[in-house]
């Protein structure tokens, strides 16, 4: 990759935070760079990823889905990770980092609750105090994950400001961090926030793409034609894409949440519809109004319901490395059911967005596609049953 200004991906990224946090960000960057080269640390992380998370996750050839779509569709099964989504890849890495830095208290933000559960899990495993900020609207939508976090010994702090979703949970986590920066580690769950977070989270998630590359070469003896992943903040997608960056023949497709439809204004298609701005510590595309006020995003999938996006994605968009599209709530729901009934896999609503885009591509039958199945759909049963107007029979 071309050389860039420190902490930037092209013109995107940076450190737009209060002065109080600057020293902590510097410490984090130094410690991370040291640990990246530390064999003992890497061995430990690899051990936990294998024995605790269950990696490598399979790259599953979805036969019936392939027939339906007219291409060879492989699913990268992050839904099979411990805790049910790719989020644990990052939280384990960062918890080990926090421990090395001597931090006893962990805070995090969560939208769908998948990151929250993954943080709570890693914190429980290492006996660290953990508090997770979550918007009231998300608490309502993702009750099961709130319950899981509590069971894991984490305190879930409801956030009632603004849209009461992920954006506001981020604000509140940053306010906590500014206040308790000396003792507290802020464990960001996506490739967002000030440098070095987007880099750290991307590195920890990159094993998705590294494994997928090895697996597809073994199965097909060649690289795939398409990589498709959903984008909220963008961590599962960057994790899948990044190791393929220099293989220009592999096309990247990022699928954002189109919500009720782009025209309605109720969506979370930040890269597709946003303009460059500054939120939560970095410069990136942003859904904002003419006065620079951040708009409220909308998506049925709480993990995509965010008006910002990781700066590296903004860079991929700017240089044309990845194409970004959106699918609506409705299309995602259809894909959700379609995968459930075609392959016996219930995907997370977030991942269903990536699957929905399959129907929009006119494939040649020999083309190879990898879709990142970033999480499983158990957490979404309440949302789905409400839409179907029937109670889940437990």
């Amino acid at each position: 990759m071309m050389s860039m200004k420190k902490g930037y991906f092209g013109e995107f990224g940076g450190q737009f935070v209060p002065e109080t946090l600057m020293t902590a960000l510097g410490e984090l960057e130094r410690e991370y760079k040291r640990l990246k080269k530390d064999k003992d640390f890497q061995r430990k992380l690899a051990y936990y990823l294998r024995e605790y998370v269950g990696r490598p996750t399979p790259l599953y050839f979805a036969e019936r889905l392939s027939r339906k779509m007219g291409a060879k569709i492989y699913l990268k099964r992050e839904d099979l990770c411990h805790t049910g989504a790719h989020k644990i890849n990052n939280t384990l890495g960062q918890i080990l980092l926090a421990r090395r830095m001597g931090k006893q208290r962990i805070i995090a933000e969560t939208g769908a609750g998948q990151h929250g559960v993954a943080v709570a899990t890693a914190a429980a495993m290492f006996g660290l105090l953990c508090e997770v900020y979550m918007g009231e609207e998300d608490i309502r939508r993702q009750g099961l994950n709130v319950f899981r976090m509590k069971l894991l010994g984490t305190k879930v702090i409801p956030v009632s400001s603004g849209s009461k979703t992920l954006k506001d949970a981020c604000n509140e986590a940053i306010r906590d961090w500014v206040t308790n920066v000396r003792t507290t580690y802020y464990l960001i769950g996506s490739v967002v926030g000030p440098h070095p977070y987007p880099m750290i989270v991307r590195d920890f998630q990159s094993l998705i793409g590294k494994e997928a590359k090895r697996q597809i070469l073994k199965a097909e003896k060649r690289l795939p034609d398409y990589l498709i992943a959903c984008i909220g903040g963008g961590s599962n997608s960057i994790g899948l894409f990044h190791p393929f960056f220099n293989h220009r023949e592999v096309k990247f497709i990022g699928v954002e949440a189109g919500g009720l439809g782009i025209k309605t204004g109720k969506h979370a298609a930040t890269l597709y519809q946003g303009e460059v701005g500054i939120l939560h510590g970095s410069k990136s595309y942003l859904l904002q109004d003419k006065d620079g006020q951040v708009k409220i995003a909308h998506s049925l999938a709480p993990g995509l319901d965010y008006p910002g996006v990781g700066p590296e994605h903004s860079y991929y968009k700017r240089i044309g490395r990845c194409k970004y599209f959106s699918v609506t709530d409705k299309e995602a729901l259809k894909a959700f059911e379609m995968l459930s009934q075609t392959e016996g896999i219930i995907p997370a609503l977030e991942s269903a967005h990536a699957l929905a885009y399959l129907q929009k591509i006119d494939f040649n039958k020999d083309e190879i596609v990898i879709v990142c199945l970033s999480g499983r759909g158990d957490k979404d049963m309440n949302i789905i049953s409400k839409i179907k107007n029937q109670k889940p029979k437990i």
Binding site: E19, T20, A24, G162, N171, R175, V178, R182, I278, L279
Partner: protein, 270 residues
């Protein structure tokens, strides 16, 4: 447009052996007409420099009080351009240096050059951006300085000596020492390391140092006064008074009374 208005204000106060009383209000809280009255009337109540906060949807350095003020202003449709427009219209009546406080995104969205021009037309004397550290500020500083507007940087209790030195060098008008790690808001207790940290800053710079964040009562102000600082900033405590008097037609009078009470006898007389 006059340059160095903040420098001149501090020089003038020094001559009188006084410290600067800096008040913060959110512009447009509860509406721009009240803001206008406050700008006109607060100097006589003892305000030496007035900080005007531009509302932002995601004020992540602010506590609940200023978050709510921001929401009240946004619900009135107040924006950076509307604030600057008001200031431009009333510039001949303003008696104290005005410092604009805004998060970076509204400025970035407007365009840095355009913002600098509008702020200059509005006779803004200085600018504070809580989420723009020194490292990211180069372009903005260049444009603001072309228009004769000071950029004021913050130093935090967590700032390293290296950072303190760099910030001292770059900050204009004054240096804003954030009294605690945390967000804005009224606090009862005062951090113990203020004196020591202000001392450290004074070692590197002869620029005025003011202390803010969490300062809300005459007792705290008088203690800070004894710490070799050049001024104090009071924000949330004043915004609380506004919030309590939202439906009171004497709102401005109540704020005046509160500020007089804060400043009287504690800053060398007002």
């Amino acid at each position: 447009m006059q340059k160095n208005r903040i420098d001149r204000k501090f020089a003038e106060l020094k001559k009188k052996n006084k410290k600067a009383f800096i008040a913060f209000i959110t512009a447009g809280d509860p509406n721009l007409e009240i803001t206008k009255q406050l700008i006109l009337r607060l100097p006589a109540a003892g305000v030496d420099i007035l900080e005007l906060g531009a509302p932002f949807s995601d004020p992540l350095a602010d506590g609940l009080t200023i978050q709510r003020a921001s929401e009240r202003a946004l619900s009135q449709g107040v924006s950076l351009t509307k604030i600057l427009d008001l200031l431009k219209r009333m510039k001949n009546e303003v008696r104290v240096p005005l410092v604009l406080l805004s998060y970076y995104n509204p400025i970035y969205k407007l365009g840095i050059k355009k913002f600098a021009k509008l702020a200059s037309d509005a006779e803004v004397a200085g600018l504070i951006i809580p989420d723009l550290p020194l490292e990211e500020s180069k372009e903005l500083k260049k444009e603001m300085n072309k228009q004769g507007i000071d950029i004021i940087f913050l130093i935090a209790p967590t700032s390293t000596e290296k950072r303190i030195k760099a910030i001292c060098k770059q900050s204009q008008g004054f240096i804003y020492y954030v009294s605690r790690t945390g967000i804005t808001g009224v606090r009862k207790e005062m951090p113990k390391d203020i004196k020591e940290n202000v001392h450290k800053i004074k070692d590197f710079s002869s620029k005025p140092v003011v202390v803010g964040f969490g300062i809300s009562n005459p007792g705290q102000i008088s203690r800070i006064k004894n710490m070799n600082v050049d001024g104090v900033v009071v924000g949330s405590a004043i915004v609380n008074v506004i919030e309590k008097n939202l439906r009171n037609k004497d709102l401005v009078r109540e704020v005046e009374k509160f500020i007089f009470h804060l400043g009287h006898g504690h800053l060398g007389g007002v």
